[in-house]
C-alpha cells in the first residue's frame, strides 16, 4: 500500500514506531500530487516548503522523544475559502485572486497547533456557490473516479484531493451540502458539524447562518481525529457554541444495537436513482443486521427546503459579498470615472456568472416590497423545517438518507440551467437550515462511481453519527477502495 493512501491514524502509528518519517509521508504525498494533479486539478495553491518544514519539525519532536498530537505531520489540504496567514486565499474568485490574508482562520490556527503539514489550498466553486466546482473562477476539478465527471461542490478540490491521495485529510466548508455532496461523489467521509460547533472565524462567508467548516477523511476514525482538532468554542465567533467537546475517539465503537434510525420517506421518493436506492436499502439492512431499529418517518416540510435555502443563502450572500469593491484588497477595474463606476466595473468583471446571479437574487428578495413575501417567508418556513427535525428526533436517534439522489454527474450536464444544479443539493440543504450535523460515509458504487450514505442527528450529536458510521464502515470495505489514476 502506498503511503499516500494510508489514513492519518495508520500514519500516526507508523510515525510513533519510527517505521516512517513525517518527511517521507509528505514527500510521498507531494510526489503523488506531481503525478496526478494535472488530471485532477484539486489545488489552487501548493505549500510544499511549508509542509516539509513542519514535517521536519515533527520528525525532530519524535526523534527527541517528545509526544506529538495525532495529526502531527499529516498532510492536510485546506479549502481556499479559509484564510491562511501569508498564503494566498482566493475563494476561487478573480475578485480576490491575489489576496494574502494577514491572519489565520481559527481552524487553521487549531490545526497548526496540532503540527499538521498543510499541503495547499484546494479548488472550490467561486465563494462556495455551486455543486460541481465548475464555477471556480480559475478551472474545474475532476472526479478522481471518472475524470469526465464532476467531484461535486463546492468543496470539490478538498474531496478530490483526499480521494486521489493528494492529501490524507482535508478541510472544507458546507453551506448547503458542500462537504457531504462532494464526499459522496468522491467516495470519502465528510461531516458538516452542528452549526456553532466549529469556529467560522476566517472562513470567507457565503451564507453566515448556514456556513460550517468540517473535514474530509478516508475513514471514520480520521473524521473523529479531525473533529477533535477543530471543534470548540471561539471567542472570535459570536455564533460559536460554548459547549464541552467530547473526545470523539471514544465514539469509535462498533455497536448500533438498539439505535433508532428514521428514514424520512420524502428522501426516498423524490427523483432518486434506482441504483442509489438499492445501495441505500442494502446499507439499511446492514445496520439492521447489527441491531439498529429502522423505521420510516416523515419530514413534512422537507420539500420546501430548496426554496427556503435559495432565498436565505443568496440574501445573506448579497450582503457578505458587498465588501469586494476594489478598495482594500483584490482586483480593481482600471479606468473608472468615479467611485461608483469603479465599484460597478470591479464587481462585474471580478465575479463569475453564478455569483452574480445569486447576488442579484439575494438583493432582489431583500429589497423594499419583496422582503416579506420572500425573505421573511423563508425564515418562517425555516422554523417549520427545524420543527420537523425536532419532532423526528423525539422518536429517532439518527435520520438516514442518500447523500445525493444520484452519483457524480458529467461536466456541463447541469451548467445550462441553474435550477437543475440547485436541485442536486436537495438532500443536503435541510441539514444546514436546521443547523444539525450531517455525515456522509461511502456505501457503495454505481457504474464505478461512489455513493454516499447520509446520517443526520440532533445538534451536537456528532459522536452518535460517528459511532453509527464507524459500525457501518467495520462491515464494509468501500473506504478501502481507491480510484485508478
Amino acid at each position: 500500500m502506498s503511503l499516500y493512501y494510508l489514513t492519518a491514524h495508520e500514519l500516526h502509528d507508523l510515525l510513533l514506531k519510527k517505521e516512517i518519517s513525517a518527511v517521507e509521508v509528505n514527500e510521498a504525498v507531494f510526489d503523488r500530487i506531481e503525478s496526478v494533479e494535472d488530471s485532477v486539478k484539486a489545488y489552487l495553491t501548493l505549500t510544499r516548503d511549508q509542509a516539509m518544514k513542519t514535517a521536519q519539525e515533527v520528525d525532530d519532536m519524535i526523534g527527541a522523544g517528545r509526544p506529538v498530537p495525532p495529526l502531527a505531520g499529516i498532510p492536510i489540504a485546506i479549502k481556499d475559502n479559509i484564510c491562511t496567514e501569508g498564503v494566498r486565499t482566493t475563494a476561487a474568485s478573480k475578485i480576490i485572486y491575489n489576496f494574502i490574508p494577514p491572519y489565520d482562520a481559527t481552524v487553521v490556527k487549531k490545526l497548526a497547533g496540532q503540527h499538521i503539514a498543510m499541503t495547499g489550498k484546494t479548488n472550490l466553486d467561486e465563494f462556495a456557490m455551486g455543486s460541481s466546482t465548475e464555477n471556480s473562477g480559475f478551472f474545474a476539478t475532476h472526479n478522481p473516479w471518472d475524470r469526465e465527471c464532476v467531484p461535486g461542490g463546492s468543496s470539490g478540490g478538498s474531496a478530490a484531493a483526499v480521494a486521489a491521495g493528494e492529501s490524507v485529510c482535508a478541510i472544507g466548508s458546507d453551506t448547503g451540502g458542500s462537504i457531504r455532496q462532494p464526499a459522496a461523489f468522491c467516495g470519502v467521509v465528510g461531516i458538516k458539524p452542528t452549526y456553532g460547533a466549529v469556529s467560522r472565524y476566517g472562513l470567507i462567508a457565503f451564507a453566515s447562518s448556514l456556513d460550517q467548516i468540517g473535514p474530509f477523511t478516508r475513514d471514520v476514525t480520521d473524521c473523529a481525529l479531525m473533529l477533535n482538532a477543530i471543534c470548540g468554542h471561539d471567542p472570535l465567533d459570536s455564533t460559536s457554541s460554548p459547549y464541552e467537546v467530547p473526545d470523539f475517539r471514544r465514539c469509535l465503537v462498533n455497536d448500533v444495537k438498539g439505535l433508532k434510525i428514521g428514514v424520512p420517506r420524502e428522501y426516498m421518493s423524490e427523483g432518486i436513482d434506482a441504483d442509489v436506492r438499492q445501495i441505500i436499502e442494502k446499507a439499511m439492512s446492514l445496520l439492521e443486521l447489527n441491531g439498529a431499529r429502522i423505521e420510516e418517518t416523515s419530514l413534512p416540510h422537507l420539500g420546501f427546503s430548496l426554496p427556503v435555502y435559495y432565498l436565505i443563502a443568496p440574501a445573506e450572500a448579497s450582503s457578505n459579498l458587498a465588501r469586494y469593491d476594489g478598495v482594500r484588497y483584490g482586483f480593481r477595474s482600471a479606468g473608472a470615472q468615479d467611485v461608483v463606476d469603479m465599484f460597478m466595473k470591479t464587481r462585474s468583471q471580478g465575479f463569475g456568472a453564478e455569483v452574480k446571479r445569486r447576488i442579484m437574487l439575494g438583493t432582489y428578495v431583500l429589497s423594499a416590497g419583496y422582503y416579506d413575501a420572500y425573505y421573511l417567508k423563508a425564515l418562517k418556513v425555516r422554523t417549520l423545517i427545524k420543527e420537523d427535525f425536532n419532532n423526528a428526533f423525539e422518536k429517532f436517534d439518527i435520520l438516514l438518507s442518500p447523500t445525493t439522489p444520484s452519483p457524480a454527474f458529467r461536466f456541463g450536464e447541469k451548467t445550462g440551467d441553474p435550477l437543475k444544479m440547485y436541485l442536486s443539493d436537495v438532500f443536503t440543504i435541510a441539514v444546514n437550515l436546521a443547523g444539525i450535523p450531517g455525515l456522509s460515509v461511502p456505501c457503495g458504487f454505481v457504474n464505478g462511481l461512489p455513493v454516499g450514505l447520509q446520517l443526520m442527528g440532533r445538534p451536537f450529536s456528532e459522536g452518535k453519527l460517528l459511532q453509527a458510521a464507524y459500525t457501518f464502515e467495520q462491515c464494509t470495505d468501500h473506504h478501502r477502495k481507491h480510484p485508478e489514476l
Binding site: 490574508p101 491572519y103 472565524y201 465567533d237 445573506e316 465588501r323 478598495v327 423594499a368
Partner: protein
Amino acid sequence: MTQYETVIGLEVHLELKTDSKIFCSSSTSFGGKPNTHVCPVCLGLPGVLPVVNKKVVEDAILVALALNCRIAEFSKFDRKNYYYPDMPKNYQISQYDLPIALNGYLEIELDGELKKIGITRLHMEEDTGKLVHQGTITTTPFSLVDYNRAGVPLLEIVSEPDLRSPEEARIYLEKLKSIIQYTGVSDCRMEEGSLRCDANVSVRQLGKEEFGTKTEIKNMNSFRSLQKALTYEVSRQIEVLGEGGRIVQETRTWDEGQGITLPIRSKEEAHDYRYFPEPDLVPMIIEREWVESVRKRLPELPDARRERYVRDYGLPVYDAGVLTSTKEMADYFEACLNAYSSPKTVSNWIMGDLSRLLNSNNLEINECPVSPVNLASLFKILDEGTISGKIAKVVFEEMFATGKDAGTIVKEKGLVQISDEESLTAIVEEVIAGNPKSVSDYRSGKDKALGFLVGQVMKATKGKANPELVNKLFKEKILN
C-alpha cells in the same frame, strides 16, 4: 398671509468613548496616523466576524435611562446595506426594528416653561471610516480613505418631531449634550465629530394636523450652525410654498460659507437599505437586573442637580441652571463648596471672573488652571482681610495665568493689605494736605469727594490699603 408652523426632529449620532471599538479590539482613540487603529475585523477583511463590546451595550442602556427610555427586553443587530468607500464591508451593523431603547423624553425650558421633547428610539451602530479629499469632494481627482474611525461605537438618538423652532432644536441639542456629558459616556464634541446632528425639517400651515414634506439637513458642525441652518431651511421652505411651489423630499447639506442649504445630488437610486438580521451576531436578552445594575452608574442628572442647588443653596434658578449645565462646572462648584461654604460667593465667582477668563482663553472648566481648593483659599484670604476685594481680582488673574495658589501670589507680589493704622494715617494726612478743595467739598456734605480722597490713598499704596480703614481715618480727620 399664511402662517406656518415649523416642525423639526433631530437625529443625533454620538461617539462613545469606550477603549475598544464596538465589534473588535482596535483602539477608538482619536487622531493617530491613518490606518493604524485597525485590525482584520474593522477593515472588513474576508472571513472576519464581529463580537459585541459589552461596554457599548451598557453605555447605551445608561444613556437610555438618562433619557427616560424604555429598555427593550429583547434586542438584536441588523445589517444596513449600502455602498460607500468609507464602509469596509459596504454594510453597516446597526439596529433596525428592535433597537435597545424606545419611547423616552427630555425636558427643555422655554421662557420659563418646561416642554417635553419625545425621544423615539435609541440604537447602537458602528461608525464609518473617513474620506479625505484633495480640495473639495467635487473637485478632488481622488479621495483617500482612513479606517481608524471605522467601528467606533455610535449611539443614534432620534427625537420625535416635537421641536417647533430652530431655537428649540438648539436648546434640545444642548440639553441632550448636557445629559450625555453627565453620564460620562461621550465627549460630545461637535467640532471633533463625536456629536453629530442631522435634522428633519418641515413646515405646515398653522392649525393643520398633517405634516408637510420634510427635508433632511446634514453637515451642521456646531450649535450655531444648527440654528442658522434650520432658520435658513425653514424660511426657504416657507418661501417655496408661498410662491406656490412644492417641497421636494431630499437630503440637503448646510454650506456654512454661503449660509444656505443645498441638495446633495445622489445617484438615481431610491434608498433601499435592505435591512436584515445580522447573522454573525446573536440576539440580546436584556434582563431587568442588568438594567438595574447599570442604573446604579447613573449620576445625578442636570435637572435634579439644578433643583437641589435652588433648594439647598438658595441660588437663583438661573444661576443654578448655568452652574449645572455641564457636569464639570457643577463638580467644580461643589468641590469649591467643600472648602468654602458660601454658595453665593462661589457661584458669583464661577459665573463671573472664572467663566470670563475660561472663555477668553478658550478653556473648558476641567482645564481650569485654578483648582477649586485654590479658589476657596482666595475667598478665605479675602475674608481674613489679608487682601482687598480689588486685589483679589488681581490675585485671581495671576492664579489663572500661573496656576500658583493665592497665598503664594500675595506673598510674592507683596499684595498684603495695609491695615496698619499708623502708616495709613501718615498717608491720609498727606492726601488731606494736598487736596484742600476735596476736603472742603466733603466737609460741606459732598460725599462723592470722599471717594476721590480714598482713591488717592489707594493710588499711593498701589491698592493695598484697607479701604474700610482709610474711610474711617478720613472721616475722623476731616469731620471731627
